[in-house]
Symmetry: C2
Subunit: 418 residues, 2 copies
């Protein structure tokens, strides 16, 4: 990371503690992402995005704010970036994936809620999050109990994601989308117009198309990229400026094209193909992906919020009317099949399709500790996988390194049966 000490000082961070945080994340990165072989050269950019997430990216946001832009911190892939961007706001995901800040989060929040929530608020509470001080608005949603109640405590704006998918639920969600637009307009003083929304829908659809293309490469045997690198790209997607991100992802996709032709891959043909299913792995969290691939299996798809749930389905474009654009946005985001829905048959169908499309040999249900939603839904997921005789295992874990030995043993035993 470039030296941004003065900036952190000015933001009121605990600079010494922040140094320790960065050192801790760098250490984990080097042990996992950095320890891989045969990485595509274009991954250098995405590594840099991660490394500059507390440095260059923050400097960029500070600069943008000086030029009148507003910075909106988000948490969940239900928040429509297109709308924020159309009103001249810059949305960036705030999710924390590091163990380092968790003890600080636990000073305010219960110990037995999910590590993602504790890690994120732990950074804020320990003054090691550079985004907190420059945040003009925090946007939460109602997708799980722990987050839903946390917004109350930290005073975030809350979008209501319904829990079923009836017409009236869609209407409720459509209203939440419209209310979000009003709130953002109020924040920036800019009106969201059809013209601007056309542009931002294109930007985000282009980003999704590039991610979908990346996902196509992962269907090959062997895939030309590791699952851990694909995860790094997803983590960068949550932080980076989207147009720039898409350009670099396109470059990487071209390189992957080339690698396929030349037969270059981190894996041998016939390597066991794993799907990760369940909870997101946000920046700082490479633990389970790394463990699995170090055990000589290939993660070929992530059925998670840092995977297919983020980039599946485009927003209908070519719609010139503002209200219809909002309809299209509401419709696209409502297709995300989070475990927050009851029932969640759509997710079951998605899983069956992905398992076929990516020729999956085994499924790892990845559950962030205390995430009741995905943890209980895992029963249903296991049922449909068992019915199709696809081996599957549930790994419930947090961000700590304490259970790594145990996880490795379980993963190895699982891979042996494939």
């Amino acid at each position: 990371m470039t030296n941004h000490e003065q900036m952190w000082e000015e933001l009121g961070l605990d600079v010494d503690l922040h140094k320790e945080l960065i050192k801790s994340i760098d250490h984990t990165f080097n042990q996992t992402v950095g320890a891989q072989n045969e990485r595509p050269a274009s991954m250098a950019y995405f590594d840099r995005v991660l490394h500059e997430s507390h440095g260059g990216r923050v400097a960029e946001l500070i600069e943008a704010r000086k030029n009148g832009k507003k910075f909106v911190g988000t948490f969940c892939i239900y928040v429509p970036d297109e709308i924020a961007m159309a009103a001249d706001a810059i949305p960036v995901a705030l999710c924390g994936g590091t163990q380092f800040s968790i003890p600080y989060g636990e000073k305010m929040f219960p110990r037995n809620i999910c590590p993602l929530v504790k890690s994120t608020f732990g950074m804020a509470l320990s003054k090691t999050c550079p985004y907190g001080p420059i945040k003009d608005l925090g946007v939460g949603e109602t997708t799980c109990d722990a987050k839903k109640k946390a917004w109350d405590v930290v005073n975030f704006y809350v979008m209501e994601v319904p829990q079923k998918k009836s017409d009236l639920d869609l209407k409720l969600w459509r209203q939440a989308v419209a209310d979000f637009k009003s709130r953002i307009e109020e924040l920036t003083g800019m009106k969201v117009t059809a013209h601007r929304l056309t542009q931002t829908i294109d930007i985000m659809n282009d980003k999704r198309r590039a991610l979908q293309k990346l996902n196509e490469f992962r269907k090959l045997d062997p895939p030309p990229i590791s699952g851990l690198d694909a995860l790094v790209i997803m983590q960068a997607a949550f932080n980076d400026e989207p147009t720039r991100f898409t350009e670099h992802l396109t470059e990487l996709n071209n390189e992957l094209d080339d690698r396929v032709k030349k037969g270059i891959s981190p894996f041998k043909k016939g390597t066991k193909r794993i799907m990760i299913s369940g909870c997101p792995s946000v920046m700082g969290n490479w633990k389970v992906h790394s463990l699995i691939e170090k055990s000589d299996a290939a993660i070929v798809v992530d059925e998670t919020c840092t995977g297919t749930r983020y980039f599946s389905n485009l927003v209908e474009d070519g719609v010139a009317d503002l209200e219809k654009q909002l309809d299209a946005l509401a419709e696209r985001y409502m297709k995300i099949d989070c475990a927050c829905f009851s029932p969640n048959n759509e997710r079951m169908e998605t899983i069956e399709k992905i398992v076929d499309d990516h020729t999956v040999d085994g499924v790892v249900q990845y559950i962030l500790q205390y995430c009741h939603g995905y943890n209980v839904e895992a029963i249903r997921v296991a049922r449909i996988l068992n019915k199709r005789k696809i081996p599957n295992i549930k790994l419930e874990t947090d961000y700590s390194e304490e259970d790594m030995g145990q996880l490795r043993t379980r993963i190895d035993a699982f891979l042996e049966q494939l």
Copy 2:
């Protein structure tokens, strides 16, 4: 408990294991409820309701089903009993409060979800729940992640409780109420009419009035009834036939009137007055109430679903039109201030009011382990109590006896500071 062995056999229960369950509950009951002094004579009825919950009450339901009635198992105080009853169904809460069945629940469900869910499903999975085999419909709702996802697994009918209180949310809930009516009508083949609904609204309002009256007695110093006995009455309320229940509660209230005149109470005047706030304590679960009162404090109010949340607010009566009755029902039930709402300012206001009305000296936030909703909301509750300088403590616990020593120590230390 009367001998109902043949009935349990016919229901397909594991009769031997069921005997052990009953023995275990009886043991806990005797150690807690039964160990009290100066109990009102009329408590005998409510004790009997609890003791006959797997016996006489089940026999009664079997008899009613033979006469064409349908039995509806519910879980949550958002399910409007009035509607079920108006279509000739009998709603009974299925919530489990016993440690005994938890290991069986954990065979299917994650260990780290709330004991109430695990206890309930554990009874079903271990064939010790007599209600499962006679249930014509199970009705769940969307108030927390663990329950919401459990319904998917066990195939319950699900009412969507919204997460905010906008006009559109109320509309969504109103629709859920109407859909529930249709589902119940389909089940019983009976139409819900305005005439029948008038009757059942009266029945349930009478029940609430009697519970409100009981709650008034608890405002006195000393209260003429223990918090543990008041809890037993609430637990009976979830199981008993409502008209019969109200008759017996009226009798008890009359006795309490008399006790007040005569100065009879389980407590001395000036006994420290505790409010329990947070999660419900359902049948089988007397642990924390008993510990607190054994430490010479009086629980004078329960701000829980087995307390004020259940009986506050009547349904508007005297409405002759069916649609308007459904409006009134939707409105009344939406006033319940469960932690599932974001934000939940109504609950904060309620707590401030109750603390005054009951002259509360200290608040015990009672959190069922892994209940993220009440656990995270506890931060806000503590803030408003601290602001008013009302001592408060958070006790997070399950149904086991393992932490009783530790709880006792914490409770004693807390009471000393009052």
